[in-house]
Symmetry: C2
Subunit: 584 residues, 2 copies
């Protein structure tokens, strides 16, 4: 079951060390390219795949991943172990669990252990240095100063300058910049003290746009093995975080296997498990079972929680004329609870208690958009924006407790109404990172919603969304399988990268330019290896031109040899050069 | 080989008759839906699939499609038959050709037979009435007047109002509006008098956004049968026009089979065949062989020609510092010709002679963007925009000859630079329709360029592009096969529809709203049938819930029964209604 995709010889897994914190080792994927004029060439790319793609690492999912953050957490001396957690209890009664012991930690009394807390105190944690190095993607050479460029290069830089809509992209990310952004709440590092296996990453609009993959079983489909496979598979294709949205059997066990084997932060919607505990009976549901579930998941190591605290009792009325009502699972359950009990949402009334729990483990809020639109017709309506305003209020309250926050966003939105979502979110939530699902730009293509939504995701990422939640082709139709996970991931890596390019992220264009250079020069292997999915690119090419010698060919089957514009372009250049030589 | 996709019983092929021209019969696909409260419900959608999906039609590709426009052309009495065309000559020497005789027509001396000519004279042709009816998609009921809507409906209409960037979308398209747009050059109806099989369609930004599919063999891959299959397949998935870009063997024969069997306008790049005639030797290439090829293709019935007349001799220098040089096949050949012969582009110097040929058959110009960017790095550069300015000049010259024109556009463009392309094109070319390839918003995903470009296509369609040229997953890697054609088409139908929604096209939202209504109400079959690809939607759903009774289930495998937000939403409504009833 262990997924260890083989790395081709042109790829290397490298680690870049920290300077402030010597034991920080940041993984990257180095793509080695064909030398040009005797010069070695390579490109380092962001690598979310964890030890699974390290040929030196021995991964055994029964034992879990190395606990790389354990020493950092230990060194801060602000946590204590707690016995009697649910995982231990379940193990005792023989539940299927990973072999190693995971003893839960929590903050010492009256201590706050969040990255935001450290940041506000002026401390640069190893996690902060890790993400700073990671964001820079090991660019060996910074871009030259503008004045040092040739006129043609200057023209290109000026022409291609991005439009960042107020994002403050840095030429080079320093650990201090990371600290400052975390302190201001403009970025988060989801890193529960009980998930020491995670390789730190940052979510904020002044950083690379990130992608989340949803996995998790339902009562109808899938088991533990399959979900762990999907986790590894998703990170192989670039998932920056993974949400385990299981609602079926063995929720706790599934999550334990996922957490112990995940190199990326894991998010959940604790409401799902809490609601299962009362067998889906709204009459039995309430704060106490929810609180217990929060602690249970906090001790397992979940890095961020979707909390639907913004669905207020009065908001439901605003949604009653909608075409598709309330489409968030959590949102609909909380609306039903408010209606049934005729009380205000207990997540709202107990919000500060939730903050205290989050602060004791460093769990980030992902403030849920329970009233997001589920169809084009419901986009940007009063219900949606009323909730967003509440989320703004809750953001400030979380920050008071030094708890990190991001804000979830829609959903289904036609193109011309997307920007309003970002503008309003930035304003209401004081630039807390935005985390959107899609949005889908039309409702008419079930089976292809990775595409309907990649359009919206690219745009909303450009406008300022910090993390995109992928949508798979199965959306609205069924639980995604591995193929769907990959298709969703690739579509969203495209959207996120297109957004980075349009924002003008200083490192984004390197990969495009290198791939285009390879394309123009018929370096077919470089073109494949620089692409998001080398296997597929190679396979498509080889369908018609499978032979090795075709990898040096100055054409492909699309145009054939006589009509290859790139070959002709090069002929023109030679022709012109020859003419100039004769004339000179 | 004949493609006759079966139509399911929920679908009907219907024909809507003209009122000005009684023999106009406009095909549409009627999707019958589940009755609600005893009311029959259905939606008519635009249908590009031709007689192939009409169970009453007997299609035999050896005999070609019915020549529905023959009588209209005949009735205008401004054309004559011409003998000795290439098809007849080739038949005599035993080339494989369709069975029926196709005798070429051309305009009588000193007569112009273009739709633009008729439009300027104030004549509403059957073609114009046909497209007017077609664009309205048989909306039985026009939208109510704003004042007649309920407050909730008024709020929705106001909120969802599109942003059309100056496009003049009509609530209902009249034949007179069509005539006026054609006369002004803002829209075109590609309809060669020698392609009477075509079902007229219109391209202009005040109409539905259209999609073109490229097919055609290369010297390396594919044959005639396969290309005819791709044609029928592409129109089955919504191709509004098809370009035959064959550069391999049997170019003339392949095109003859395609034309005689195509219900949609066919475009070509005559340069390819002309260049093949001189065996790809730039030294032997020139105006005369090009002129003969134009006439050969005009007599076969090609509806629009890509003509690279804007690639001027001086432009090539502007492209020399590019990362990917000249990536248009035609553009690179013409640049090479200018360079080799040290002369101005013969398509430019002979442009008015070309106009005269186009006018005699009613062929539209698709003024080629030979200098379009082939990579993000080359987007919106001086070479590209210099050519666009030349295309503006050529547009006016074509209009002087009453020849219809559209303008080709890029290519590879990052999101933030897309709008400039449309703005500049509208300005330079006096609102002649824009026809763009993609654009791809990043270069890093070969194998997925239908997605990298669907993002750009959706956006550029919103901004004002009238027709999108699809990009398949095989772009840059090889010649597309049938699967690729379908994947490209679906991605582009999504982009075009998302653009219509964002522009605020008055009929666009009906399908989204009906599908969303079906989704919310668990009318699974309606949801599938209203989607762009019912088979795939149904297949995905049935992977986990295959039984018939699941088609009535109030959940799917994504969330399972307890966590279905739509089911809960409905429960809340019932709960609230019950409470009101008790209180009342």
């Amino acid at each position: 079951m262990t997924q260890t995709p083989t790395t081709s010889p042109v790829e290397e897994k490298i680690y870049v060390s920290g300077t402030i914190h010597k034991d920080v080792r940041v993984p990257m994927r180095k793509i080695n390219l064909r030398p040009v004029e005797g010069q070695e060439r390579s490109l380092c790319v962001y690598d979310t795949s964890g030890p699974y793609t390290d040929p030196m690492a021995k991964v055994d999912i029964r034992k879990g991943l190395p606990r790389i953050r354990e020493g950092w957490i230990e060194a801060r001396a602000d946590t204590e172990f707690r016995s009697g957690d649910v995982t231990s209890a379940l193990k005792k009664i023989g539940s299927r669990m990973p072999e190693m012991d995971h003893t839960a930690r929590r903050a010492l009394p009256r201590r706050t252990v969040t990255q935001m807390h450290y940041a506000k105190q002026g401390t640069i944690t190893p996690e902060m240095e890790f993400v700073a190095i990671r964001e820079n993607q090991n660019r060996a050479i910074l871009r030259k100063r503008f004045e040092e460029l040739t006129p043609a290069e200057q023209e290109r830089e000026t022409r291609l300058q991005g439009e960042s809509f107020g994002a403050k992209l840095q030429e080079y990310i320093t650990p201090e910049f990371v600290r400052d952004e975390i302190a201001k709440g403009r970025a988060i590092i989801p890193a529960n003290i009980n998930h020491p296996e995670t390789e730190p990453m940052i979510i904020g609009r002044n950083f690379l746009v990130k992608v989340n993959a949803n996995i998790g079983n339902s009562a109808v489909s899938s088991g533990i093995d399959e979900e762990v496979e999907k986790l590894v598979w998703a990170t192989r294709w670039g998932a920056d975080t993974v949400m385990d949205l299981s609602t079926g059997k063995n929720i706790h066990e599934t999550r334990e296997w996922i957490l112990r084997n995940s190199p990326v932060p894991i998010g959940t919607v604790p409401l799902y498990q809490a609601f299962e505990k009362v067998n889906g009976k709204i009459e039995d549901f309430g704060w106490e079972v929810f609180r217990q579930t929060l602690i249970e998941q906090a001790e397992q190591g979940v890095d961020y929680f979707t909390i639907h605290a913004g669905v207020l009792k009065d908001h439901a009325a605003l949604a009653k004329d909608r075409v598709t009502g309330i489409v968030s699972r959590g949102g609909s359950i909380m609306a039903q609870w408010c209606s049934y009990h005729n009380k205000e949402n207990f997540l709202y009334t107990h919000y500060e208690e939730i903050c205290e729990i989050m602060a004791a483990y460093d769990i980030c809020f992902s403030l849920g958009d329970g009233l997001r639109p589920g169809s084009i017709a419901d986009a940007n309506d009063a219900a949606q924006f009323a909730e967003l305003e509440t989320l703004g209020e809750l953001t400030k309250l979380a920050w008071k407790h030094d708890v990190q926050v991001m804000i979830e966003g829609p959903g289904h939105v036609p193109m011309h109404m997307i920007k309003e979502n970002v503008d309003k979110q930035l304003e209401c939530c004081d630039e807390a990172p935005f985390y959107t699902l899609g949005p889908l730009t039309t409702d008419i293509a079930p089976g292809y919603d990775h595409i309907t939504s990649a359009i919206g995701a690219g745009m909303i990422g450009w406008f300022g969304t910090a993390m995109l939640c992928y949508v798979t082709p199965k959306e609205h139709l069924g639980l995604p399988n591995k193929t769907d996970v990959k298709d969703g991931m690739i579509a969203y890596k495209i959207a996120a990268h297109a957004a980075d390019l349009a924002k003008g992220h200083p490192s984004a264009r390197d990969r495009d330019d290198m791939l285009s250079y390879a394309r123009f020069n018929f370096h077919w292997e470089d073109q494949f290896n620089l692409s998001l999915d080398p296997q597929t690119a190679r396979k498509f090419h080889d369908e018609t031109l499978p032979k090795d010698r075709h990898k040096g060919a100055h054409f492909c089957s699309m145009c054939g040899p006589s009509f290859c514009s790139m070959r002709i372009s090069q002929d023109i250049a030679k022709q012109e050069a020859a003419r100039e030589a004769t004339q000179g």
